[in-house]
Structures are given as structure tokens and as C-alpha cells.
């Protein structure tokens, strides 16, 4: 889903802005009275986006909250007379035996994806930081997985991981490992979707962390090298600490957007088998759309739980970012 990719680009954008745009004088001027005409002009420029936000973001959200607070049967959904039931749908969702597994999968999916994307992205960024022949070209090629339409990536992975005809099992067979039912075994399905999602997320981490590395003055490394610090030492005492602000923001935003990953899982496993790869995002869809008869209320409730989780981490992100801008 491009929404997972789009906003992810943000830390990069904000980080350098705080770094480089700040000193240029434009940002953070001394607070002074703002003339009214300029206020009017400013809001005239902002009006379309503000209206847009209300119509296309606030309204769906409002509607979803409303859905989650009513008891719907198919009949009352159509007739529109569903009674207000407060938090009953949320209770239903919490008591559902699928709740605990879905929560666990969501946490596992998000954490494992984040850790691997970050570690691999960082390792690659450090690797590419040293210029070598073809390094720019290869770095560009690394972006490909991230730019492909998600449906393309998801279909490719599901075919590669096919139990009987997939290349992955063929390769395992060649080295003497028994075939794995990636998409059809409850033990492996979550791993399979995590694998695909990591693949998609690594390029982004690579590019952002690479740009973070470039902001570290080369002189520091030279000094450390003169002091006899080896590459490992240099990484832990220079690169990693100086990269912390970029890392924090990359990880936080990654978290917010990995939480709502939907397309990959839905196309590859539909959350199955036996709900073994169901996360909140797919569960919400499953409830609202996946069955013969939709359960709109609980589906919306699960969706709202996701929104709340994303909001909490989003607020943390804003705080972290503000702190960094101040320091």
C-alpha cells in the first residue's frame, strides 16, 4: 500500500530540515505580531488543504467511530436504525478468542520487521557509505523493491514461497532442507509475510540512514582513525551515537506505518491459515469485508484500536522531533 511508503519518507524530510534549514534564517524567527492581511492570505492558501482534511480524513474517521458504537445486524445496517450500544463492540472484540493472537501477531510483525529493516538498512548504509566503483548505481538499484507497486511485490513473493512450485523451496531442497509450507502452515505464515515486508522496507531505511551518515563530518572518522580506533570501534563510538536522532525518527515512523500494513498480508495469506498471520489491520478488514455477511461494528472497532495505537506513537514521534529541533 503506498500509504505505508508515502509517509515513511517523512523522517528524512524533517530531519535535514531541522538541521540545515534552521540556520538559514527562514525558520524560527523571533516571534512578532503577525499582520491581519497576511493571516488572511495565509489561510486563503491553506483553505483548500484544510477543507480537504475535514472531508477526506475527518469524515471517514467520524463515520468509523460511529459504526463502532452501534450494534449492527445486516438489517439495521441497511435500515439505519442500529441502536447505540456504547463500547459493546469493543467488548466483543476484546473477548473474541482471535483478539490475543491478533495482538501478538501485530506486535511480532511490527517489531521483527522494524528490527530487521533497521539493522539491515544500517549495515547497508555503512557499507555504501564508502564510495567504491558502481556504488551509486547499486545503491539506486536497492530502491527498486520499495518503488514497486505492493501488489506486484506481494504476488511475486507468494509465488516464490509457493509450497510445491516455489523457488525458495526448490533452493532449500537443493541444500538438503525439507520444503517449508511458507504460506500454508500456521507456524510459517507469519514469517513469510514478515520476510516480504522486510524486503520492501529495507531500501527506505538504507536511503534515510545513508543520508544521515553523510551528515556526520568525515573529520571525526579521521581523528578516530589516527587514534587507532578500528572500524568496529569507530562505528560504535561515532556512527551509531551521531545517527541516533535519525534512527529514532526512522524507527518511530516505521512503527506507525508497519502497524497498518495490510495489502502484503492480505494478498499473500489473507491472514491465514487459521488466523496465524492475522494482524489488527487484516482482522479489521476480515470483519468488515472478508465474510459473506459483514460485521461492520466490530470491524470498525478494531480499526479504531489501530488508529489509537498509531496516534499514540505519532504523538511520541512529534515530541521526539520537537525535542531534536530544539537541541
Amino acid at each position: 500500500m503506498s500509504t505505508t511508503q508515502g509517509p515513511l519518507t517523512r523522517p528524512a524530510l524533517d530531519v535535514p530540515r531541522d538541521r540545515t534549514a534552521g540556520p538559514r534564517g527562514a525558520a524560527k524567527p523571533v516571534r512578532k505580531r503577525r499582520p491581519t492581511s497576511q493571516q488572511l492570505a495565509a489561510w486563503a492558501f491553506l483553505a483548500p488543504v484544510a477543507l480537504y482534511l475535514v472531508l477526506f480524513y475527518a469524515y471517514p474517521l467520524y463515520r468509523n467511530i460511529d459504526l463502532s458504537l452501534r450494534h449492527y445486524t445486516v438489517r439495521s445496517f441497511v435500515q439505519g436504525d442500529a441502536p447505540f450500544t456504547g463500547l459493546a463492540n469493543y467488548r466483543t472484540v476484546f473477548e473474541d478468542p482471535a483478539f490475543a493472537p491478533a495482538l501478538l501477531h501485530t506486535i511480532l510483525f511490527t517489531t521483527v520487521c522494524l528490527v530487521f529493516q533497521y539493522v539491515m538498512g544500517l549495515a547497508l548504509a555503512v557499507f555504501f557509505h564508502r564510495n567504491f566503483r558502481l556504488s551509486a548505481t547499486l545503491r539506486a538499484l536497492f530502491l527498486v523493491p520499495w518503488l514497486l507497486p505492493l501488489i506486484v511485490s506481494a504476488s511475486t513473493w507468494s509465488w516464490m514461497l509457493n509450497s510445491d512450485s516455489g523457488i525458495v523451496n526448490a533452493a532449500l531442497h537443493a541444500i538438503g532442507i525439507d520444503p517449508v509450507n511458507w504460506l500454508t502452515s500456521p507456524t510459517w505464515s507469519l514469517t513469510a509475510v514478515i520476510l516480504a515486508n522486510i524486503w520492501i522496507g529495507v531500501p527506505f531505511n538504507l536511503v534515510v540512514l545513508y543520508s544521515g551518515l553523510q551528515n556526520i563530518p568525515a573529520g571525526l572518522y579521521e581523528a578516530a582513525a589516527l587514534d587507532g580506533a578500528g572500524p568496529w570501534r569507530r562505528f560504535w563510538s561515532i556512527t551509531f551515537p551521531l545517527l541516533r536522532p535519525v534512527s529514532a525518527i526512522t524507527l518511530l515512523l516505521g512503527l506507525v506505518y508497519t502497524l497498518k500494513v495490510f495489502d502484503i498480508i492480505w494478498i499473500m495469506t489473507k491472514g491465514g491459515p487459521a488466523e496465524s498471520s492475522t494482524t489488527f489491520a487484516t482482522w479489521s478488514y476480515q470483519l468488515g469485508f472478508g465474510n459473506l455477511v459483514p460485521a461492520f461494528g466490530p470491524g470498525a472497532a478494531v480499526g479504531n484500536l489501530l488508529v489509537i495505537a498509531a496516534l499514540v506513537f505519532g504523538l511520541i514521534y512529534v515530541r521526539v522531533q520537537r525535542k531534536q529541533a530544539e537541541s
Partner: protein, 415 residues
Amino acid sequence: MNSLIRRHRPTTAVLAALALTATASACGSGSGGTNTGGGDSGTYTIWDPYPQFAKGSDWAKLLDKCGSDAGVKIKRTAFDTSDLANKSLLAAQQDNSPDVLIVDNPVVSTLAEAGVLTSTDETKLDTSKTDPNLLAAGQSGGKTYGTPIGANTLALYYNKDVLKDAGIDIASVKDWASLTAALDKAEKAGKKGITFSAIGTEEGSFQFLPWFWGAGAELTAVDSAKSEAALTLWSDWLKKGYAPNSVLNNTQTTSWQEFESGQYAFAENGTWQLAGAEKATFEYGVLPIPGQSGGTAAAPTGGEFVTMPVQSDTGRYATSQKLVTCLTSTQNLLATDTTLSYVAPTAEVQDKQVAANAKLGPWVDAVKAAKGRTDDLGTKYPKISEQLWKAVQSALSGAKSPKDALSAAQEAAAK
């Protein structure tokens, strides 16, 4: 108008004021029940679950022709089957239902219960010629809510070449034990046994039901010992490698493509694959699905119903009724069911079909013997079916034993 819709109005007004598009203002002006699904009175909307038929296909042409016969323009939209029930409910909520809705038969009673569909009493639709066992899926509370456009059911296709290589005599396959023995022979001969679809959707339940009913189980008690026997049969096939693991993600189409690869002895699939089977590179045969201890298992009836959703402007029914009658006329049914590779719902057309293609003969019999999914359960079916396919997935993937999976299903369905 109901409260929910009224609450949506302000947004509509704002949007219309924005004049985002020309159409916006056109619909915002409607006072009572606007019918934007269709547009003006000269245009009638039809929703169908046949996205495989593009513009210019025979099906699309037939719709247009029925439209021009009735003196109206047709606006057709094709949805994926799995989306259609949901979209219909949303449309009905917004008072925007299509004039004619062609929808999978197990959903009809649910839509009727929701008040989305008109009954044939209201719309004076004649359903007298239709086979009663097929019509049953569209009946609820003594009323009929549509008419089938065609029917299909499931049977076992077999690959004669593979059977020959593996030394299997098809006449020996009479019950589950002999079928399993045949699968074992195929497996030993280096071929593959059977493929089917156990995906976590309605298709999975549809494919499981012949075995479920073949064991004598009832949908009212999915945790019975008989039901367990059916699920154990499937899960043992997977354990022994008689069926591939991919059945868990197989749609009926994927499963068919596995069979087309020529390596499988058997495939459980539907009437609609008949046209494709003719194109296969090997000789095939068709066998009714055997019951546990012999005989023929009841297979579920598949196929869609032509229905007429409720409109706020009841004056539209007369034309819609003409459209439905045209679509289900003897001549058009023959053409449509031939394209869809379905069995027609009336005896008259069935005879013509068999006359044109003798291979349809066994399928006509199978459809006549088939059982509607909602016959015993009505609107409870979708809920139980969902639990059933979940249980099948749990058992086949090894997450739970068949017994545990089914008792969990019964418990969830009873809620």
C-alpha cells in the same frame, strides 16, 4: 429517510457545493430517495459477479439487448463475487441499490432478511418453471426473492492417463476408502493424488460440504462425529501427501490449474470447468463425489440468483421485471448458461443443453440431486459457513486436530 442517511447529508451538500464534478450537483438536488445507482429514469443499473465478461462479451451484449427491448439504457457493473454482498448492503444503506442484482445464492436469504430485496409477489416475477430444489435457496419465510440464472455443483474430475499409469480402475472408486486407496496408488506411481480448494472463504466451505454431507453430518451440528470423519478424511490426505499443501490457499481456479498440469489423478471441481476440461491435454472423466460408505454424496448447489433490490421509486419495478424476465427467458438462459458453463434452472432448457452437449448429462443429474446451502439454516448459513471454513483451515494446516477445530467452530457459531 433513515437517520443514518440524514446524517450523511451535510457532507453531501458541502461536496456538491464544491462542485467537484458535474455529477455532484446533479445528484445533490434530488429531494427524496435519489437513485444515483442508476441515474435518471431511462437508465437501469445491473450488478453482476462476472468480471470475466468484459464489455463486448456475449453476456454484456445480452444485457444491452434486454435493455433496449425494454426501452431503457443499461449501466452494468461487474464485481468479484466476494465483494458483492458487502457492496449491495452498503448501496442499500445509501438507498442506491441497483435495479437488478445478480448475486451468489447463499447470500440471497441474508439480503432478503436485511430488507434489500423485493419478493416475487411484489414484482410479479414468474418462477413457476424453475426447479424447486434450486429455487429453495432464494426462498425465505414463504416468499421467493429472485430466480436462479443457472446452477452448478461439484464432482470429481479424473485424469484418465494418470489413472492408467497408476493402475487405478475408476469403477473401483465407490466410497471414501476406495477413493483413498486410489490416491495411494497414484502417489506410489509417482503421480499426485487429488487437488481441491480449502481456502478460507466461502469457496472452502462449498468444496468441503460434499464430504461433510457425504458423512451424514448436518450444518446444525458441525462438531458431530460424522463431521469429524469428513474433516479427518481431508486432513489425512494432506498428512499422507495425497493432496498438496497448496489446497489451503487454492481457489477453485488455482486448484483447477493444478489439475490441468496433468499430474493429478483427481480434482474436486465444478460444472463451470467443463469448457476448460475440453481443452486439457489429457483425457478426463467425471465421477460424482462418493459418500463415506458408498452412494453419491449430496453436493451443494452453486450459481447465482437474479434479484430485484428495493427501490424508493417503486415505479421502476415494472421495467426491472421486464429485464429479469428477458434475462431468464428460455432462449437467453440457454445462451447464458452455455457461456457460464452452468446447468440451466428449468427442465426445458436443461433438455436443450444436454441435446447440444451430451457431456452435460451427468451434471444435470448432479444438480438435480444437489442441496442448497441455506436450505436448513436460512440466514444463519453465512455465520456457520465462516466457522466451517475456519475449522477446515485449522485442521488442514495442523493448527488444531479436526475434533478441536470443529468444536471451536460450533462454539463460535452458537454465539
